[in-house]
Structures are given as structure tokens and as C-alpha cells.
Assembly symmetry: C2
Amino acid sequence: MADTAPAPVDFRTDPSQYRHWKLALEGRVARVAMDVQEDGGLRPGYELKLNSYDLGVDIELHDLVQRLRFEHPEVGAVLLTSARERVFCAGANIRMLGQSSHGWKVNFCKFTNETRNAIEEASAESGQVWVCAIKGACAGGGYELALACQHIVMADDGTTSVALPEVPLLGVLPGTGGLTRLVDKRHVRRDRADVFCTLEEGVRGRRAVEWGLVDEVVPRSQLEETARRRAEAFAARSDRPAGARGIRLTRLEREVGGDRIAYRHVTCALDRTRGVAEITVAAPDDAPPAGLAGIHERGDRFWPLAMARELDDLILHLRTNEETVGLWILKTAGRSDAVAAYDQLLDQHAGDWLVREIRLFLKRVFKRLDVSSRSIFALIEPGSCFAGTLLELALAADRSYMLDGTFEGDGRPAPAVRLTALNFGAYPTGSGLTRLATRFLGQPDRADDLKGRIGEDLEAAAAAEAGLVTATPDDIDWEDEVRLAIEERAAFSPDALTGMEASLRFAGPETVETKIFGRLSAWQNWVFQRPNAAGPRGALQVYGTGQRPEFDRRRV
Amino acid sequence: MADTAPAPVDFRTDPSQYRHWKLALEGRVARVAMDVQEDGGLRPGYELKLNSYDLGVDIELHDLVQRLRFEHPEVGAVLLTSARERVFCAGANIRMLGQSSHGWKVNFCKFTNETRNAIEEASAESGQVWVCAIKGACAGGGYELALACQHIVMADDGTTSVALPEVPLLGVLPGTGGLTRLVDKRHVRRDRADVFCTLEEGVRGRRAVEWGLVDEVVPRSQLEETARRRAEAFAARSDRPAGARGIRLTRLEREVGGDRIAYRHVTCALDRTRGVAEITVAAPDDAPPAGLAGIHERGDRFWPLAMARELDDLILHLRTNEETVGLWILKTAGRSDAVAAYDQLLDQHAGDWLVREIRLFLKRVFKRLDVSSRSIFALIEPGSCFAGTLLELALAADRSYMLDGTFEGDGRPAPAVRLTALNFGAYPTGSGLTRLATRFLGQPDRADDLKGRIGEDLEAAAAAEAGLVTATPDDIDWEDEVRLAIEERAAFSPDALTGMEASLRFAGPETVETKIFGRLSAWQNWVFQRPNAAGPRGALQVYGTGQRPEFDRRRV
């Protein structure tokens, strides 16, 4: 928001605190209605008119998507609607965008798109299919939200329309996935997409179906019933267990104070002067439950889930509230055996709905790391447990340093990393490849060959030989090499690092998801930075003032 | 360059005018040595020290790549070297970049990368394989040039190195393909790429091979011989005919004056007030030659080649010298039968080396349209000939308007479009798909089905039904609809249009090429626009002054 940010943003919420969404559970179908409170903005200075949204609205949606998946195994489809009669959703609030800093805008778009990815993942992998029913104007981010749903039904009533009016109205892009989802997900013909994205008033009725912008239109009187029928049909095909009991996601406990953030399994030490956050993820300190029933019984105290929730919250907290902390150092603490034992449970019971949700959640958390505009180093030291699920942290890092041997005077054994079955498919990146496959893109067999080494403790030389770590200094070199790397990183241009990391992290195939984060977001960031949008006479700034924007007409 | 540009840039040149490159023909191998003249900058204000380059240097390289392919069928491999002993190439000239406008920098990077794409295409599809021999420092754009070659041999002499020092030294990206080619072409492991891109001094010797940065290192005394042997081996496997005679690319004649640019087959009318360029491509006015010998005999007067050269030059001219002309309107004039007859020749003799070059050149020209940051409309009117090769112009456009029927009082028949065999594979886009396949991404059979309609003249209704055109107004609506669309386009933010078009034009699979143009370039554009690089205390501005850059440390 304003450059001097007020109170930090807290991403923790629960349904009792929702101001902008209504949730109704109706057997196998959950009904989610957007009902944004005009005076409920996260920051002062704007009113959330016409069901427009800001980060606060999306924090609630993010929580809601998460809870539906964990707390409601019986829900096989979600029906997304608006509580308003005349407007579905007007998109991101323009005044909010106009008064926001560049970084806030970019971070806001990233988080909202991650939530839309989670909606798509729920439809595709979790048996919880999202159906959207549109009546009234559905514009910009509103239509981008609809685009995240599996099936879109729209009222054919002469006034309801879908639109992406960002280019003609605001001089920015439909940057929360809209452009990419049009042509790459819905396969809208590119020339039609071009016309559509320049029509302030959008497209309605039959043409919206013909162009592929929505899946069907029905008379307004039949919207509710049709959409419900579609949702029920998806729910009937869902493999989620209608009779199972969900687990409750209790409020995440944490201590935030000064330069320290502490959760139960995850802690973070901030050095704001150096711009470094040291994040330590602890192995489980209890024995794994005996079987599936034990996992369900532990609920959100089950280590992989508890750890994932904490790490997720920390990532979001750091991204939003600690902008100048540019380097995240990932460490682990505890016994690899303990991690591997939990991994075995996650592997063994992969078919269970709850275990599936936990694995998918971990996948999303690691993907948040991939798209965080922060440099990430992993430090692999004595006492660490980079095994299986936690090894993904090192594989997600831009580079990793592993001590070769022990520290003088330190009684602990030399560190080792360990592969488990979960490194070979449980946590694909946005590209669809595992982090191992992305790492060895030129040698497709190499990741497969490593399956033969599952369970082995690989010390520095072996880990380096297997290609799993970047550098392996010994006791004598460790301190200097690591300190230098950290200091150097802090001295580089933060923007150049962001662009470099975004280019190097996503080798290999591209998907709708990577295209949005890589290509579309980069263009949006550029546009957000341009005087034609964000300058004093830029389109985004003068919107609603009655003034016309002034453009530098040179094409770049 | 400076915001008030001096004389327009002319992309036409020939070996007699080269100042920066030496070409030696040695049988099947051509030897190209970079030898940049320090005082040979295209604009005043900088010296091209250490074999650094500016647009002028790259215009010559572009010409050279082109001539090697057309004028030298006997050349099966190209050996790229430096005429300097201590430096291979220091990359793009930093002072030139520092004094350039945002638009100039972006356009410069785009053109240089297109030339590197042409080098890669020569290696992959033209039987003219580029081999690079590096001695001395090879940094930034110098290494990016090497990365475009098929095989890189480097001297192992303690001083020779490859480096991408943009991030640590300049606060910008290796944005001419470097980052993408590292991980996606050469499959350098991402953590090693991360280390490499932050090392000012780069990497040399065995480690460069181990990391995949180069293909082999040899003692300096053996560099010349090894590289030559590699080139000879590639040449020996080339299918280019050693005994054939090339065709000469004579100087392109054109008249540039006021608001008109005229070539033999291509004309352009500029309306700078409205920001519109109307480009008309004329069908051949002569009968096609009788057979293959006739094609060779006509040489660069052969219509497809002559037209391609003219259109290519015009695109480059407009991009560089007419920045505020944001909308290109493509028209054609002449008989579809004439175009189709030439297409038949290009189809029939596809195996001939010259015909292959002509088809590949046309492919490159159309790809230049795809990545031009200009809106493109096609107008399909009576008297037009959007057939086959020329139909690609309409398919490359962001949208097309086709008159349904005739104009009142105009004796000419209603316009028609026509598919030929060449629309089904001769001119793939950067993604590897044809423009038809990209258009019908959601219905993969549809492009194939259209093969059944090759040769048919499709008037508006049929063309619309086949999905080939965007809108088909009739005589009554035509003028208003087209005029309005043009006026509207001119009123939008040029930046938003650039981002939108770049997102909508490249649906479907991604390749190194599309990743560079879409993802990497977008990030580079963003970085180029950021105060941390381009502001008064930005890294790019203070480089070489002895001052340290000042960074806003917020990560975005």
C-alpha cells in the first residue's frame, strides 16, 4: 500500500471472522457467495464497491478454499456465486491499486493467482470441482476468478456479461491469469481474445459461449437451478468420501516479535540490516502415528500438515511484511529418520482423501517458494534433516551449501541428505516436473536412476556426485564461503535477482501456471512500472477522476 | 538512443561496407571473425572497446548470416571467432545502453536475439552449423552469441573465460537469451546457473565443461585446429550442395520519403497523426518460372524472396525508426492465383537448398511480425490476394476484417481468402506450431480438416465459418467498423497493448525461442524500467564512473 506500511498483514483467519464471503454447506455441494463489504477494506482510502476486492477479501477466499478441502471431505463440488443481484464482481479495486506501491500490487496479484491455482487444483486433483454461476457484471479480476473454475454458467438476460476491461479502461493487463487462461486454458481463439480484451462492455449471451468465454448461458430464471445441477453432477462423480469426517484447522499459533517469528515446528530469525531471514524447519519430535486412523486422529497436529501450514503462513508473512529481506536461508533441524518415517506414511496412504490433501498442500507450499521473489539458499549443516519432504526445500533453493565433514569441536556427525519416494512425484513444480527432473533436464534418466538411492544417507561427496547440492565446503572454508555468498547476494540489484531467478527456476515445459507466473506476471510488472499506467497522468491513476490519461505513444 | 533520434537507422548493408566483421571462405567452412572498430559506433557518445557491440555491429552480423545462407550453398559450417587475442567479445556496449532510451534498449535486444535465432536455425535446419572458438574474455552478450552456436570450444589458458556478469555488474539481466539458453538449451543445472550468473569473473577451464557452459576446452595452442576440425566434421555431414552456385543478394532498392516507403512489391503509407502504417504486399506480377532452374536463375528477383526481403526490411525500419506508429495494417493486392502458383513451386521443390532457404526466410519474416510490439490488423478487401504465403499475414495479425460482399459502385468481385499447402507447415511460429494450429489450439483436428479446403476461394461467410477471419462486416458497416477499431486501438495504452499482444499471440507449447521473447524479455523490459537499473543512481547508469549504485532494497 502506501510506502510506509501500517500494521503487518495477517493471513490467518477463519469463517467466524469472514466479512466478505458466505459459505453454505448443502450436502455434497458447498455454496460460496461473494458479498464484499464496502467498508471492509484492509487499508483505509478506498471503498470496496460493486463486489470489488482487495487483499483482505482474497485472504478470506484463500482460507475458505483451504478449509473446504480439509474440513469438508463430503464436499465434491463448490458453487461460486455472488450475493449481489446486479454485479457478480467488479474485479480488484481500482482505487486500492492506484494508491498501492509497485511491490504491493505485484505481491497482491501473485497471492490472488496462487489462490486461483488452488481452486484449479481442487477441481483437477482433489475431487472438489468449482462451478461458477454468473449474474450481473463480471469484470476484470471477477472474470479471472470465474476463469479459475472448471465450468462457467452465465445468465442470458441482456445485462449479464463477462469482460476484461483492463486494457481499455486502466492501461494495465488482466494480470491475474486472465490473458493466459483465455488462450491457454479455455483455448479462446487469439483474435477473438484480442477483441474481447479491448471491449469495455465485454461479451454476453450466445456469443460468450461461441467464443468459449463461458460454458453455457441460460435464462436468468434458470441460472440457479442449472448451476446447481452441474455442481451436483460433478459432486456425484467425485471420489471424495461423503461419509467421512473432516479435520479442523485450528488457529495457527505463532509468536511474532522483533526479529523473531516462532511457530511450533518452524522458526525464523530476521536480520533486517543484512536483509536475511534464517528459516529453520524442525523434524517431527514425536513418533509417527501407527496408521491411517492415527493420522486422522492427529488432524492438524499431524506433523506434515502442521509444518506445511506454518511454513505457508511464514512465506506469506515475509513476502508481504518484510519486503527488504531479500534472502531466505533455509535450514532444517532434527533427525532424518523421523522425517522419513512420516514420508513413509504419506506414501503408503496416498489414496486416502486426507493424505492426498496434505500432499497437495505441501506441493502448493513448495510452489510458493518457487515463485517468491526472494533469493533462497539452503544450508546443510550437522544436525539437519534434509530428507524426503524436507529435501524439497534444498531442491527449491537457488543454491545449496553442504558442509563436507564436521565442524571442529562439534560432536555431531557430518550432515547427510536423504531421498525418499516422495521426491519422485509427490511435489511437482508448476511445470509438472519434479524438482529433481527439472534439475537434470538434460539427462532425463538421471532422476530415475536416483530412485536406486532412496533411503541412503548421502554425505557431502556423495550428495555432490549425485548432483543434489551446489557446493560442499569443508570446515575450514565453510564460514568464509557462506558469509561471502550471503553478503554478495545482498549487494546485487534486487530487481535483477528477481528477473534472474524467475528465468532460471522454470526450465523445461511450460503450463498455464508457469506461463502466468513467468510470462504474464513479468509483462504485468513491466506495465505496472510504466508511466503510461502508474505515472501521475497514467491510466490507472486518473481512472474515475474524469481526466483522460496521457500516453507516451512510443511502442516498446 | 537519445530521445530525439538522429538519422533513421538503415538495416541494409553488404560485405563491402562491413566495419566490424571479417569473413573468410575456406571451402566448406566459413570463418567469421568479430573485429569491432572502436570508433565505429552507430551513434556518437561511446567507443566500442573490447569487441563490444551496438546495433550497427549487429546489423552487419545479421546481413552476414543471411548472405552465408543464400550466397554460399557450399558452406556447411561457420567458425565464429574473434580477431582479438585477449578478448573474444565484451558484450553489448554499456555506455551505449546507459545513454539509450528504454525503447531503444528493448528493440536492440529483440533484434540481436532474432539474429541469434537465425544462427540457431541455420545450424538446425539449413545445414550450416555454427561453431564458436573462444579465446580471451567472453562476457555478457559475447557469451550469449556463443550460446547461439551449436558447439563451443574454449581455450584452457588460465585467462579465457565465459561469463554473464550483468547481474553483479550492471543490475540488469543477460536478456538477449542468455538465461534461457543456459537452462533450457544447454540444460545447465539451475543452481550452477545461479552461481555462474553472479560471478563477475565467470568460469573457465574444466569447470566450464563440467557445468555444460561450453562443449570442450583445449590448450590455447590447439584451439584453432580443434575448432576447425569440429567445423569440418559438421560441414562433412551437411546436406548443402558443395558444388552449387549461390545467388547474389543485391542491394534492396527502396524509396523512403515523407509518409511513404516504397519497395518493388511492398509499399507502406504512414499516418503519423493517427499512428497507423498501412502496409500493402503485392502479388507477383509475372508468371512463375517454369521449374527449379528458373527459380535459381531469377535469384533475388524471384518474387517470394524479393517480397520477403522487402517486408523484412520494412518491419525493421518501422520498429526502429517509427516508434509512435503503433498499428500496422496489412493489406495485399493482386491475384490469388499468382500467389498460389508461386506457392506451388515452393512446395514442389522444398528439397532444394535455395527453396529451403527462401521458405526459412519467409518463416523468419513472419516470426518478426509475431514479436513486433505493434498492433497488427489485416484488412481483406476486394482486389486482395490473401492466399497461402500471404494468408500468413492475416493469420499473424491480432485480428482481421474481411468485407462480406462488394463495395457499392466497385466493380471488383467480393474478396476471398485461399489456403495452400504452405499454410500447413512451412511457416511455424516460434512455438513450433503453425499459425493455424495455434489458432485452433482447443480443436487439434480442425487445422487438419482445413487441408480439405486447400485451393478453394473462401468468401467472407465461408472464411468466418472456417475460423480464418475475425469479423466480416458488409458494405454498409465496413467503414464505420474498421475506422472505429483503428481509432480505438490508437487510444489505448501502448504498453498495455504490448503486454496483451505478447500474451495472446503465443498460446500453446513453449520453446527456447518463445521463452526468450515472452518470459525473459518481459523480465528484462521490467528491469530496464526500474530505478535500480536505469535511475540516476542505478547500476547501469553509474557503471564505470567509480560510483556505487544505490538500490531500493524492496523485493518485488
